[in-house]
Symmetry: C2
Subunit: 455 residues, 2 copies
């Protein structure tokens, strides 16, 4: 079943590319606003990803990057790892955007003389003083971290690296970014909440090396947490689009405050998020229920790392975590299985009931009766309606619903079609994100002396 691009889509995509090229053209003739160029490139990245995903589907299947959609009656085979296509388009887009991001510094350089020859003698000296090498370093290290993550993600999709190894892959990818953080900022202080100040005796606590561990933990958490809230059509991309959009909204909040000292950090964040949203939307189109392609671990790693990069280099890692509430809940809820306190099957996605066409909670079986305290905890969780449990006639627990947020959603609201589950969870993600941003900008004043949005 080869996919095709319809004539209508072709016309739409051509229109988008045309409009985007127009946008980029205004950058060349105008004052070179990088954000406009970023917007234009994001549109082109969307169109390119849309087409490439369609065109490359068969090639991916041919080289074995394919998987069965087990939650459909026909269990058809779909191309896998399509996130790699998006990621490569994204990275190329970021590389092409490089000169735009630093356009203004080139303009300063050549606007004086117009003729390059005339300025060539002072050029080197001037350039070295004016050019923001630290920003360039930040930008390059961010792309480098993302690219490393993509390489490791593709390796994972190709070779199925073991869980206990692959959760640490992001740390390697994060080294360039952490290194640049060290030399550019080196700030390892955190602001102590007002309530704790009298106990700690300081308003700023220096975490020293602990801060780097904290950042490495964020780099591990973001990609992996997206990777474990997965398994039904469209959920990986949808949650990434929601999180990315809310980070972008937060960025725009800061940029809209004229002359805010954090404007640069948030512009930097937008430069990385706009093309990300572009390629993700294209992927979403093909990955939404019923999926025509799968995204692969590559996409989850790539998306998570993008958020980690902008959060860390943009200095809003705490805000970032406020947008990961469903992922944090899913991680905590999954922990007993992840750490093997209870049995954990290889795949925990909900079970497809072919007769009803609905998704039901999938079950993890006990190979031998659970210990008394585990049975007790499962009993309690069952009473709280946080898990479903199946017993034999003697009342011994045989199976329990897998501990994932997706299963919990289905346990709570009953069997439902796959896309309804994704939509419900996305509603939850959006609601949590709105609450997260409100907490950040309103409730934060309760524990911190000021919200840094107001200068």
């Amino acid at each position: 079943m080869t996919q095709k691009i319809t004539t209508g889509w072709f016309i739409s995509l051509f229109t988008i590319v045309g409009a985007c090229l127009g946008l980029i053209w205004t950058v060349f003739i105008g004052d070179g606003e990088p954000l406009i160029a970023s917007l234009g490139l994001s549109g082109i990245a969307f169109s390119a990803s849309y087409c490439l995903i369609v065109w490359l589907g068969d090639s991916f299947k041919r080289v074995g990057l394919k998987g069965k959609d087990i939650s459909k009656a026909d269990r058809r085979e779909l191309p896998e790892t399509m996130g790699a296509v998006c990621a490569v388009v994204y990275l190329m887009c970021m590389i092409v955007f490089l000169p735009f991001a630093f356009y203004e510094y080139f303009v300063i350089l050549t606007s004086g003389g117009g003729n390059r020859d005339a300025t060539s003698e002072v050029e080197t000296g001037r350039l070295l003083h004016r050019f923001p090498h630290n920003k360039l370093g930040e930008y390059l290290s961010a792309i480098l971290s993302l690219q490393s993550m993509v390489i490791l993600g593709v390796a994972d999709d190709l070779f199925d690296i073991r869980w206990r190894h692959k959760i640490f892959l992001p740390v390697i990818a994060a080294i360039p970014m952490l290194m640049v953080y060290y030399v550019d900022f080196g700030v390892t202080n955190i602001v102590v909440p007002t309530g704790l100040r009298e106990y700690l005796g300081t308003a700023l606590l220096d975490l020293s090396w602990g801060y780097y561990l904290y950042m490495a933990a964020i780099a591990i958490f973001c990609p992996n947490s997206i990777n474990i809230l997965a398994g039904i059509n469209g959920i990986e991309v949808s949650q990434s689009i929601v999180i990315g959009s809310f980070i972008a909204i937060n960025d725009l909040l800061y940029i809209s405050v004229g002359g805010h000292p954090a404007t640069d950090s948030h512009l930097f964040s937008l430069y990385f998020l706009l093309p990300f949203l572009g390629v993700s939307l294209a992927l979403w189109w093909h990955n939404w229920y019923p999926s025509k392609v799968f995204v692969g671990d590559t996409y989850c790693y790539f998306a998570g790392m993008t958020f980690a990069v902008v959060g860390i280099l943009g200095h809003f890692s705490k805000t970032l975590l406020l947008l990961f509430i469903p992922q944090i809940i899913n991680f905590i809820y999954s922990a007993p299985q992840l750490f093997r306190l209870v049995p954990c099957p290889r795949h925990r996605l909900p079970r497809f009931n072919a007769r009803s066409g609905l998704m039901e909670p999938s079950r993890a079986p006990f190979t031998r009766p659970p210990r008394w305290y585990i049975a007790l905890i499962l009993d309690m969780l069952e009473k709280l309606r946080l898990v479903q449990v199946w017993r034999n006639k003697e009342g011994v627990i045989l199976e329990f619903s897998n501990l994932t947020l997706i299963n919990l959603w289905i346990v709570t609201f009953g069997p439902m079609r796959e896309d309804k589950a994704t939509m419900g969870l996305m509603g939850l993600q959006i609601a949590c994100s709105i609450i997260g941003l409100l907490v950040r900008h309103k409730a934060a004043l309760l524990v911190f002396p000021h919200d840094n949005l107001s200068i």
Copy 2:
């Protein structure tokens, strides 16, 4: 046929890793000489690559990255794209090396107070002034270009991108490097040879944009020229090791001159070449006749781009080209086939004669009789013994030996075993490299006023 690592090799590799860890340890307790750390990491990279190539062989074959060795009697199937393993080990090594390369700047920072808290107030300011952000940018952009090249190389190996598209892949990968060249140096002048000065009326010629085209051309030439001097066991890695070693020798020449202004550039080059030689030697071991693995286009791109990166950012691109003489000859000799002036079969590697066990020149057939001027040129080349031609009874040319340096070698010296051909061509490569370096440091004085090795 699964490969295994012998006990002897295990012991050797453990010894190498132990010694290298010792070397790196001396860096921590001593004054932090990055070159020592680079040497240590290169040894570890060698050992890691050696093992990973053995361990991952079967996984690569399982996902379809495999190819038949058609120049052997048993045409056995070997893992392909093993260059990707080396490249990933190399890139990780370069990322881990990052802090070592800039170690001295960290030492300045913390040696004053010892206690980080004591220096934390002045830290940001101090750091921003002292830290060589331009060098960090150079380093990061170089890794980024290499990594982009590796991603595109793997995509090529997986999906067999068409020739006319793939020769331009290195340009995309080169953008970060060219961009950093622009902001860091921006020097687009070339020194005019003394003989031409009176005609051009200047000693320094500003090529302006032309210089960027020149650098892009080098970035295209190096990877592709290695990729077309390929096809017999071990030749891709062997030529890369020879070229890499001679660049390193040239670097050492500069570094040995105490206080030479170009010391930093050549140290930079060594940092990139030592781990490259490490991973390449490991690959060579498995790829030498009779090959147990194939290197894939990925390796050729990766190797070529490494040379392009160090040549461009180290400002010795002309010297670099002097080490590519066999590749340049091969390219010129191949040009009639590459540009389709004469027929060009998909694969041009020499033909294996199963009876004699020797390699013979492979032939390109004319589907219709060649035009008179092409026949005339082939006649002339035949008289000069630069091509072998096969005719029908009427004397019309039916076939000619494929225009590659490898075929030419076999045409000249007669059928020979595969490894003899590789060894012969490597002898040629070494001889040309020695002549190249002599030209650079001795003969250059005939056309340029001074050799910049003497300060």
